[in-house]
Symmetry: D2
Subunit: 419 residues, 4 copies
């Protein structure tokens, strides 16, 4: 747990071994907090780092408590756990000079999935695969967290820069649950420049993408339908059939009209009606994701989806509940920051290829932080750091080339110094 | 028009030639009224025979006016047309003795369909096919009306009976539109016995069925959906799509849960969305029929159908209107009346076969009159008079064997005298 | 395991404590076999009692092996386990005299559900609740098996009767999986009279129903749809969406046309598409149950359901697999046997109320055995033995009044002796 | 009919008064042919101008015959009517010099709609509104045809140009039915430059748009479903319900997955199931339009639509027929031609505003001719000629500012001379 003695690779492997899903990153937050505290950063933990009211897709109390207890058992310093007050996330600030406030945002959460256990998978082969069943760092956030620490180390140990560094260690990026609550604090108010970064994204180690554009906005809605059971043979009319609601809702969700102003998406997952086939379904559920090329198009889809869900339930006299699980918006990287990163990257030895901009295929809730900075007059970019992934993001065999950690640190620090 | 000189067959052919759809039976009503007036019956015409407020499926004013004008042009006596006040239907009463009040119900309306014009069809061959395009007596109501007159003639000319005769000439049986409004008047309050009758029903001439049971209750609902047009290529999101409502509604109407207590039915017809395929549909419509083994089951289906329609519209943000087009209920014939008709029929020479009871396959709004009589303590039956039909009811080649007219008159009068 | 020393109540409680789901009744079969073997019955075990090829809804090998191993560990005699050759079920025969062959059918399987564990539930309170998580005797088959043994004891120990006794210990009644394969053997060929019996069915202890009629025929179909995953944001067109198939299939299954000839039913349960909401569903599944008032109506529904499933898959370019999980047919009890049971029951002291016949609400695969006996010229009935259930069949708190066990034995034996 | 004496405005008004829908432009074709014949053009009429086998959405024989007869009655020269052999369309060629082959494409067909008859509508007020009920020039093709003649006149009477003029008078543009068959002839093989033009398109008179880009590809599919009628009350199972097919098809058509590669569209119109609500539908139909940002995306949608239609029918055991009614593809205008038109337009006095390029909102089957020219190495553009429309294209009050006719002629001739 004495991370200062550990290399970035060692830290990354430690995090990989003890992955924590969104809003349960107690150990991860504490681990980061401990080193940055020792380095003299001002720490803003938990409710001081994210607006608790704005959190989306928070697990239930029991789950949170169990995760906290697990962190405790794994030796996380009680001091930081307490300061979190049950809320994960960290903003760490250090002033090195009078110049601009530069922020870096990294995310910390793992995915809800099992990790491959066979020898084809390096983490398993080399003994640092997940020890938490059902959780896995399959999107590189372990590396992002390590890079965040690496940036602090690099600047701290090599003279800082003429300005203030603000590190945002964001919880719950998966699902788009942590970006908005982190953007709703005051920490971004004075930020002049922001870099968010991501490992992998299909690029080889040595490649840096200085800016990504136009991720689709998205929103995730969890829906439960409540009906009334009845014997399907004797009293088919006496129930209120939540499985029929599923049928009507699925059909009409995919049939939400396309929009003339741009791309829209809708998808349904985790569909479930557990009733026996001789009983009218009393409960059914699914999870929806909608997307739009713009925030407006995303709202269009979300509104339509809610309408379909409401009337599918009404059609079969069922009740329904919805809960917004996560949400992201879109962004555009500023040309000024793309310039800065490109130029900095050209000067880093381990960088072999610099791409100025690419379209961002998926969705990202760094978008909320980026837009907040831009609204306040700052500029921002989202940087891709190639990591030669051997398997796709979110899959059981996902891994990163750890050489990419230094690339990420160096490009970021070089950029920060140049601003 | 001097019907007293005409045989029943001549009258039936006259009516067949000038068929009038439901609520437009101006000429038919006037024709009947004229003879019964001459015979000294008390006449209750139009709003005095049916409750105008309870009428279902009434054509628009323009259509009613045109039909009235047509009746005028065909020589209907102005006196009766005026007394109808735009409402068809007639109750005619004559007291012959102190005994029970016996009523007979016949219906008068034609169907909305073209009649066959080729020589295979006797009415065409012998020159009495419909002269009203789009209207045809394809269910024998021309014969029923003639039988109603025949009963009046027979009793009037052969000594009456010890009681009071009430003849109900019902409009708009097709669709189940006239029975309920006729049952909502006071004319049934003092009725001791009622016979309703129908020609054909799959029986040969000479066969009499003394009672039918358990027609399905039904209801007909006309539905219109209002959306918003938009160009399907450029602005697919800008419309509100009434054609999509059709899809959702049709699928979910047929999926209304079966009922544990008995038979239910639902069907959709006259579906229409006239939009060009490159325009989002701004208007769609269909007509629904539901049925139930009991009045309650029919209400169950009607309620569910309304719910589906409402939420199909809501799902696609369209408005909707519904209009109840027609409605029937179920009935059971009284054993006492089945006995009376059976015995009477046995004594009629032209009757070769007497069946006591059969199940009634379709729906009938005589049900409302029958139930009203039964509620008031009277008894009632629905009698089938075989007529050797050469083609199915409601088809272009439907015709009746006119020998059945006398059978109908004789069996009914014989029964009346026996009560 | 020395059941001869145990009372019927003790045996029932032993079976209740170690419930075995359909096709895994290894311990139950062996337990019955052991006592009947000692009593000199000819035993037909496993493949000699049911046609293995005709079995429906058989669990996978792993599950069967585990259940067999469990029976072994619980001390089931190896001899009988071996003779079963992996197939449960038993026909036991003993000849007492030259008279008719009388058969009794009881079922042995438990349900796939957890049992209540609190003190409100007598089996929990008195220590004989299920020790097999996920399995419970919640339909009284533990009592049926005990009654089967009780009949053997009673006849064996009190002079037999003038004829041959054939006891059918049927596996896998739940879901309708064992009746057909048991009826496809030759054991029913010479049966003159058959009684099947069931405890509870809403009747108080002391009540006997001498015959049930017209259970709905049913069939259960398990369906899996195979699609192709794709990223719902980037490549929505690249997948083949099994969740969309669910929508189309559910909507159209419930919309299978009602049938003019009688009752039909359809219901969908255990709906599941486990894909994440940002991935096009690659796999979805559900389980269907159809029913019909007759075997033909059941086939109508099953055929239509297969058609809907096939085309719902085809519509979204998915593949599908179906597997018939269970099937029952309908039956009518013979008046002769209803007479015999009624009269016998009147003579049994513990019987307080004898009902001749009731309609059977649910479905039963004893139907296949009953019909086979009737086809061969024998007569049969299905007898209800009241058991004052404190909770509904198939629920976690289901229990039987054990006094009903003797009632069942006495009524059956009295009937057998009277035939 | 002596068009040489008529001004372009007179010709346009004559055509406006006698509009002819797609594939019935007999009078229009003959009128054009007559003047161009007199001017010494080589004429390719009917099957010599379009490939008859490739025609889409051709009206039935009866309709074609009636239109031909109508043209005859209106005085069209028999010579040209005969040469058409029942197929409309004309390619007219005249060689003025050795230079390039320049082609101009105009379309001739009217829309299937009624024209406004009140005085707010200039054609009605000034007496040249449509005399053909149900047909109207509501998209300016009357003007296009006049401009085509005007170009011939201008060049013919003012010295021609150094090259060959090929005029394509295309039939059946509405619905996208005539472009493809005209492009499948050899007439385009030697074309070096092509201009297609359209009046209006939202621009004021005096504005010229030198190029349009990326119209959506589209396809129109007419679909008929054949079921089996049955009485919905008595025999609901006996039919095969084409109305249910509508429900399943509509729902699933709109739910065709969005495509990751670009815009797609689908819409359903002219939905119809004419069955009475108490009869299972034996016939239903609708017309579909799909679109795609590219020809491939359009094919994707068309393929998916066909799959949905097939399986919606199969799901309810109905048959179906489909007929491709029309089809267009997309195009890009060549920079060289946009330059040429822009420069020429700048030099025309009546032109007040020149726009280089706009996106094309709708769909256009000139696309097939344009792409054919480009495939053969030629260049092409699609030119908009502003016409200050007082009402939207395709509406009852559509009209053009006739001053735009000369603008169209002048810009085109100026361009031709410059090539």
């Amino acid at each position: 747990m004495a991370t200062r003695e550990q290399s970035l690779t060692e830290i990354r492997r430690d995090l990989h071994r003890y992955p924590e899903e969104g809003w349960t990153e107690f150990r991860t937050t504490a681990l980061v907090a401990e080193e940055l505290d020792e380095r003299g950063f001002d720490l803003h933990l938990g409710p001081d780092a994210v607006d608790p009211e704005e959190r989306l897709g928070v697990p239930d109390e029991e789950r949170l408590d169990a995760a906290l207890e697990r962190a405790r058992e794994l030796g996380s310093p009680e001091e930081y756990l307490e300061r979190m007050e049950g809320v994960t996330g960290l903003v760490a600030v250090k002033r090195y000079g009078d110049g601009p406030v530069v922020s870096v945002r990294v995310d910390m959460d793992a995915l809800a999935r099992d990790e491959a256990e066979d020898d084809d998978h390096r983490p398993a082969r080399e003994g640092f695969a997940s020890e938490h069943p059902g959780e896995m760092h399959a999107c590189g956030h372990d590396g992002h967290t390590a890079i965040g620490l690496g940036i602090a180390r690099e600047l701290d140990e090599h003279g800082g820069f003429d300005g203030t560094l603000k590190l945002f260690f964001q919880p719950a990026e998966e699902g788009g649950r942590g970006g908005k609550p982190m953007s709703e604090t005051t920490h971004l108010d004075d930020v002049d420049h922001m870099l968010a970064l991501h490992l992998g994204l299909g690029e080889e180690t040595g490649t840096v993408v200085a800016g990504y554009d136009r991720p689709l906005s998205n929103a995730k809605l969890d829906v439960t339908f409540h009906g009334e059971p009845a014997h399907a043979g004797g009293q088919p009319h006496a129930g209120r059939n939540a499985a029929q609601v599923l049928g009507a809702a699925i059909q009409n969700l995919y049939a939400i009209p396309r929009h003339g102003d741009g791309k829209t998406r809708v998808n349904v997952g985790q569909v479930r009606s557990p009733n026996a086939q001789n009983v009218i379904s009393e409960r059914a559920e699914f999870r929806i994701e909608v997307r739009g090329e713009t925030a407006d198009l995303n709202e269009y889809m979300l509104g339509k989806a809610r309408t379909v869900v409401e009337h599918a339930a009404g059609m079969h006299e069922c009740e329904h509940e919805t809960s917004l699980y996560g949400k992201t918006t879109t962004f555009e990287c500023d040309e000024s920051m793309v310039d800065a990163v490109s130029e900095a990257a050209e000067g880093v030895d381990s960088v072999t290829d610099v791409k100025r901009r690419k379209e961002f295929g998926g969705s990202e809730d760094a978008s909320y932080l980026i837009r907040r900075v831009q609204e306040n007059g700052g500029d921002a970019t989202y940087v891709g750091v190639g990591a030669s992934n051997v398997a796709g993001h979110h899959t059981a065999y996902f891994d990163i080339d750890e050489d990419a950690l230094e690339v990420g640190v160096d490009v970021t620090c070089e950029t920060i110094r140049s601003l």
